[in-house]
């Protein structure tokens, strides 16, 4: 602002102080730079043209301070502070001081500050753009994952039927030409299934939905089982396929058996594929160990074509095929090793390859695996034994599936194992059958008309009485992914079988489900062992009572009075022996009293609750 009071005019070293008359002519000038500075003229505007406008604006008594004026004096650019005073007599006083050094120092600081500000601004803009790009990328991944899951479902369902029927065809007598054709269809179907699985695996890994399942398993059994799957392929090429294991391999380790098996299977299959003569050896040894875990080293060595050194890293990238040149002739789309690497990394390990063209390859995996102290964990079954298959004898399976091809496929697989099968086409019909037939296990499709699989499972789990609400349910799903599996398990499914599935897979999951449902966990009744109630009696009670109760409920729903009274009577003796007198009394009423359906249902509910409690595991 214009100041009204004159400051004292001091002659300061490095300063110029000049007085001009009212016409702007110099009347007096003091200062070190005077001569040089004012040689260009003797008029205030000639000397300091920047004062144009400012001087005219001043009225007598006013002063203007101008800081940091860039001005050229005789070719020298200076930065000056200036002050102009309009004296009361009409004359002007101009004071200037060279402040170039000071301003340059300030300028440097400002420059840094401004550059930092601009850099911060640019960074925040880049961050915003990165966020946008990240959102776009995530959306694209989600869309792709969803698309793949949907397409896989659509492809898997018919593929399931195709592969299954081809499998059944192979069990029939065929001419040699037919056998070759069927074999070709089988190979094509398996190739398509493998490709689908690879794409889905990769999509799951990329979307971060891949979970590593850590459970105890036998490392050697896993290797034997996995390598065994490749035996025929190796034999057909005349290759020697073997396993060499170190003495120090622990019997049991904790890890993801299925994923590790997938990794080994992929490497061994690849090795066989690219080896025309010689051997494929799978080695396993402990590379390092701590008190609780082992660093296990797996090697898959072959005498095949080998990989050029400049291609050895590319082979782990998606859609790359570099085993000694073009591998299209051998099939595949180049996803296998990319999946292997991602799986190994996800399990906390690493993979490397050593290879020489024409002399073979050696893939080495190092994986940390927790050791299982013997006796502390249950041994995990890797296959189905005779005892497992015995469980299938005379079981009654309900299949809820609306696709007629799939109905027939499952019916034929189960009938071949002497299972009784009842087939329905909707969830609603499945529930009706559960109320009338002594079903042991249910195969439930997800997508069905009227009541779908989800709704049916919910209805069974929430609204049917014990033990009908505990019926084992195996969901047949065309969708894959942990999210889908978690959703179905949370809904109440016991197991999930992903389409397309081989007959073996269906039987395996059925046996495992039946085993689990009949597993012997400690229960309330275990506490009742006494002089009068033996452990054997408890075993009989636990195995037979749910069936008695189920038959009672079936008779209730069927409103078959004679059968109902008979079942109520049958259960009474069990309750009496086990000294569940309250339940015994209810059952006696059910047998002897003339009751309406609703009254019977209410009393049955009490019996179901009591029996369920008596079988509940002890916490």
């Amino acid at each position: 602002m214009i100041e009204k009071k004159h400051p004292p005019l001091l002659s300061v070293a490095g300063s110029i102080i000049c007085r001009f008359d009212s016409d702007g002519r110099i009347t007096k000038c003091d200062g070190e730079l005077t001569k040089e500075a004012f040689s260009s003229g003797n008029n205030i505007f000639e000397i300091c043209d920047f004062l144009y406008g400012t001087v005219e604006s001043l009225v007598p008594g006013d002063q203007a301070s101008l800081a940091g004026i860039h001005h050229v004096f005789n070719g020298h650019e200076l930065i000056i502070d200036a002050a102009v005073l309009h004296d009361d007599d009409g004359s002007f006083v101009l004071m200037m001081r060279d402040e170039t050094s000071r301003y340059q120092a300030i300028n440097q600081l400002n420059q840094q500050r401004n550059e930092a500000d601009i850099m911060q601004h640019r960074l925040s803009r880049q961050n915003e753009q990165l966020e946008i790009l990240k959102d776009v990328a995530e959306t694209a991944v989600r869309t792709r994952t969803k698309f793949l899951a949907t397409v896989s479902h659509e492809i898997r369902t018919p593929l399931n039927a195709l592969i299954g029927f081809v499998e059944l065809l192979t069990e029939q007598e065929l001419t040699s030409a037919q056998a070759r054709q069927v074999s070709a269809i089988q190979a094509a179907g398996q190739s398509l299934t493998g490709l689908l699985n690879d794409i889905l695996d990769l999509s799951k890994i990329e979307s971060g939905k891949y979970q590593i399942d850590n459970k105890p398993f036998s490392l050697l059994k896993m290797l034997e089982g996995t390598v065994g799957l490749c035996r025929n392929l190796a034999d057909s090429k005349g290759l020697n396929l073997s396993i060499e294991s170190g003495q120090d391999i622990p019997k049991q380790v904790v890890g993801d058996r299925m994923r590790l098996s997938q990794v080994v299977l992929n490497l061994v299959t690849n090795a066989i594929k690219f080896t025309d003569r010689g051997h494929v050896i799978v080695r396993v040894k402990v590379a390092d160990s701590t008190d609780t875990s082992e660093l296990v080293e797996f090697e898959v060595e072959d005498t095949g074509r080998g990989i050029a050194s400049d291609k050895q890293q590319q082979i782990f990238e998606e859609f790359s095929q570099n085993q000694a040149g073009d591998a299209n002739e051998l099939g595949g789309v180049g996803l296998g090793l990319a999946i292997v690497k991602q799986l190994v990394n996800a399990m906390g390990g690493n993979i490397e390859v050593k290879s020489e063209p024409g002399r073979g390859s050696n893939f080495r995996i190092r994986l940390p695996l927790e050791r299982v102290v013997e006796g502390s964990q249950k041994v995990v079954r890797s296959g189905i034994d005779a005892a497992g298959l015995d469980l299938l004898n005379d079981i009654y399976v309900l299949l809820a599936e609306d696709n007629r091809l799939n109905q027939q496929y499952v019916r034929e697989i189960l009938s071949a194992r002497d299972c009784k099968v009842s087939v329905v086409g909707s969830g609603e019909a499945a529930i009706q059958v559960l109320k009338t037939e002594p079903i042991d296990v249910v195969f439930m499709d997800v997508l069905m008309p009227e009541m779908n699989g989800d709704e049916a499972i919910k209805e069974i789990r929430e609204n049917l009485l014990f033990p009908l609400n505990k019926i084992p349910i195996i969901v047949l799903s065309g969708k894959t992914g942990n999210d889908e599996a978690t959703r179905l398990l949370n809904l109440g499914a016991n197991e999930i079988l992903v389409k397309p599935y081989q007959p073996d897979a269906l039987i395996r999951v059925l046996v495992e489900t039946l085993e689990k449902s009949s597993s012997t966990e400690s229960a309330e009744v275990d506490n009742r062992i006494s002089n009068d109630i033996s452990a054997e009696m408890i075993d009989i009670y636990r195995s037979e009572t749910p069936n008695y109760l189920r038959d009672l409920l079936l008779a209730l729903y069927a409103q078959n009075e004679r059968r109902f009274n008979f079942q109520a009577h049958k259960m009474q003796s069990a309750m009496w022996v086990m000294e569940y007198m309250e339940t015994y009394e209810i059952l006696a009423r059910l047998e002897n009293e003339s009751l309406s359906f609703e009254q019977r249902y209410a009393l049955c509910e009490q019996v179901c609750r009591a029996v369920e409690n008596s079988l509940r595991p002890i916490k």
């Binding site: 602002m1 214009i2 043209d49 920047f50 144009y52 406008g53 400012t54 001087v55 005219e56 604006s57 001043l58 203007a64 301070s65 101008l66 800081a67 940091g68 004026i69 860039h70 001005h71 930065i79 301003y103 300030i106 300028n107 400002n110 420059q111 401004n114 550059e115 500000d117 601009i118 601004h121 803009r125």
Partner: protein, 161 residues
Amino acid sequence: MQKKILLVGDFGVGKSSLVERFVYSRFSEEYKSTIGVVISKKELNLEGLVLKFLIWDVAGEREISEVPASYYLGCSGLLFVFDLTRPETWVGMSQRLETIRQMSKSDNIIVVGNKSDLCEPSQIEQVLDKIGVRVDAVTSARSDDNVDRAFHELGRRIVND
């Protein structure tokens, strides 16, 4: 006819670059912050009338009110420059323009959105919609878009004032 004009606006919006482009027809990618005031001269020919501009390129302050009052003395018009890519240089613009009007006692203010070369046309439209103040020129000192036009527009307003 000689007239003093000021360029004001936040630091880094390109005031000095506009002056460099207008006065010397050049552009530098290097950013140098201005300290104090750099005064340049340029003659404009407005339909036969020669106007001498004394252009005060005032250091970009964080607040317009921080520009020393003495700088505005004898000023005939101003260019208020903002950066189309930095919202902080145009937020609260109407209030800042009012402050400038009060301090300069001039209504000859040209509002200039600079760095149009860094924006898509649609982005510029969005910015102009958001500002809520009439923008007189969208310029690019780098690509020499509308720079002369902005100064000439100010000259015309001053002459017609």
